[in-house]
């Protein structure tokens, strides 16, 4: 069976619809992961032992189990408890939660890298805990960790095809549906691979730029 360019152009609009959903899911998931990661990192530093231990264990558990099973859990099990989520929302929560636990480690390292002199200076200036975090620690901790976070968001992008398993119509699912309609698999599957490779390569270039722009730690 040979490559058919006419078929490629015929299915291209459908696949581009899928690309849009894939990118949307990645962006929403990234925002959620960044927020959840920060929350986990802060909770793990909490002086309350019960809170920090239980959040730590939950994060460890989420990181040790497959994203696909977590997506099934959110999509199929939660309705039993009366929480019925649309596929896209369930997918975004799954991505955000899974990568949030990875982002939490990045935040932890970033916060640990802020020199202790900054904490002491904040205390000397009589800032309270909230002011210390928002005005001193977080503004210094975030820029150096941007490249590492971006790295995980690229990894998340590559995991979005899993959303097709919970019926989100993203790139992979669109490709499967056109493949099943015309019973031709070579072009759709190869195009999906090509789309992912091209977008990944572009994001790697962006990542290199972020590394140059923010990667250096200056005090």
């Amino acid at each position: 069976m040979e490559w058919d360019w006419n078929f490629v152009w015929q299915i291209m609009p459908t696949l581009l619809e899928g690309v849009k959903i894939t990118i949307l899911a990645t962006l929403l998931g990234s925002v959620l992961a960044a927020a959840i990661g920060l929350a986990i990192a802060l909770a793990r530093r909490s002086p309350n032992r019960v809170l920090s231990r239980s959040v730590g264990f939950a994060a460890e558990f989420i990181r040790g189990t497959p994203l696909l099973v977590q997506l099934y859990f959110i999509f199929y099990v939660l309705p039993d408890f009366g929480i019925l989520l649309p596929p896209m929302v369930a997918g975004t929560i799954g991505l955000g939660l899974h990568y949030g636990t990875y982002a939490a480690e990045v935040y932890r390292a970033g916060i640990d890298n802020v020199p202790s002199g900054q904490w002491e200076a904040a205390k000397a200036c009589n800032l309270n805990a909230r002011q210390t975090w928002t005005h001193v620690i977080i503004p210094q901790a975030i820029p150096p960790m941007i490249p590492a976070l971006a790295n995980y968001f690229i990894a998340m992008f590559k995991e979005t095809p899993l959303l097709s398993a919970i019926t989100v119509l993203e790139l992979m699912n669109q490709a499967k549906s056109v493949a099943n309609t015309y019973y031709r698999y070579v072009e759709p599957m190869t195009l999906v691979g090509a789309f992912f490779l091209v977008i990944s390569l572009f994001s790697v270039i962006l990542l290199r730029w972020l590394e140059r722009r923010y990667g250096r730690v200056e005090y």
Binding site: M1, F61, G64, T65, P66, L67, L68, V69, Q70, Y72, F73, Y76, V77, D80, K158, E159, T160, P161, L162, A165, M172, K176, A179, Y185, V186, M189, T190, V192, G193, F196, L197, S200, L201, V204
Partner: protein
Amino acid sequence: MIDWSGYLGLILHGALVTIELTLMGSALAIVMAFLGGLGRLSRFFAVRALATAYIEFFRGTSIFVQLFWAYFVLPVAGVTLTPLQTGVLALGLNVGAYAAEVVRGAIQSIGKEQHEACIALNLGRWQGMRHVILPQAFLVMLPTFGNNAIELLKATSVVSLISLADLTFEAQVVRAQTGNTLVPFTTILIIYFIFALAISWAMRRLERRMARGLDGVRV
């Protein structure tokens, strides 16, 4: 009330398939990691280019896309593989590409004086690599290999989508037959987590075993 005893057999069978996939995938991954990692450090441009292309291609497209491509496109090209072979091939090549970068990084992290010592002792390139550089570099690789193995374990859940009867697939079967979602999915989440803990425990043991006799050599 559902009689769970019959379904336990299904889940156990799935667990065996998952273990089998993880072990065989890891075996292929470690071979590819050393081929790719050493290839990138080769003296010959062609070997370097080949290794770089392999690594960038498999890291740039997701495991999911690679698996589907191997499952749907290879048979059209005349290569027929069983789902298990397809799964091992995709997992091993994908994780191998990530691990190849670990191998390269670890070898490059070994100090220049070690290479100079090899030359002073009149060791050939291969002898120096085999007896001096790799034994030290291997210790640096081990912790990251452990993380890669856990990533591979988590990626095995994706093979359920090409109708290979692993843990995730069997949980779906149980769900379809009993209509209960909470029990099967919670069970497999816990099983995956235990596997992940087992991998990190085994890696720590191995690390301690390999570090024996190297005291004072590495700081």
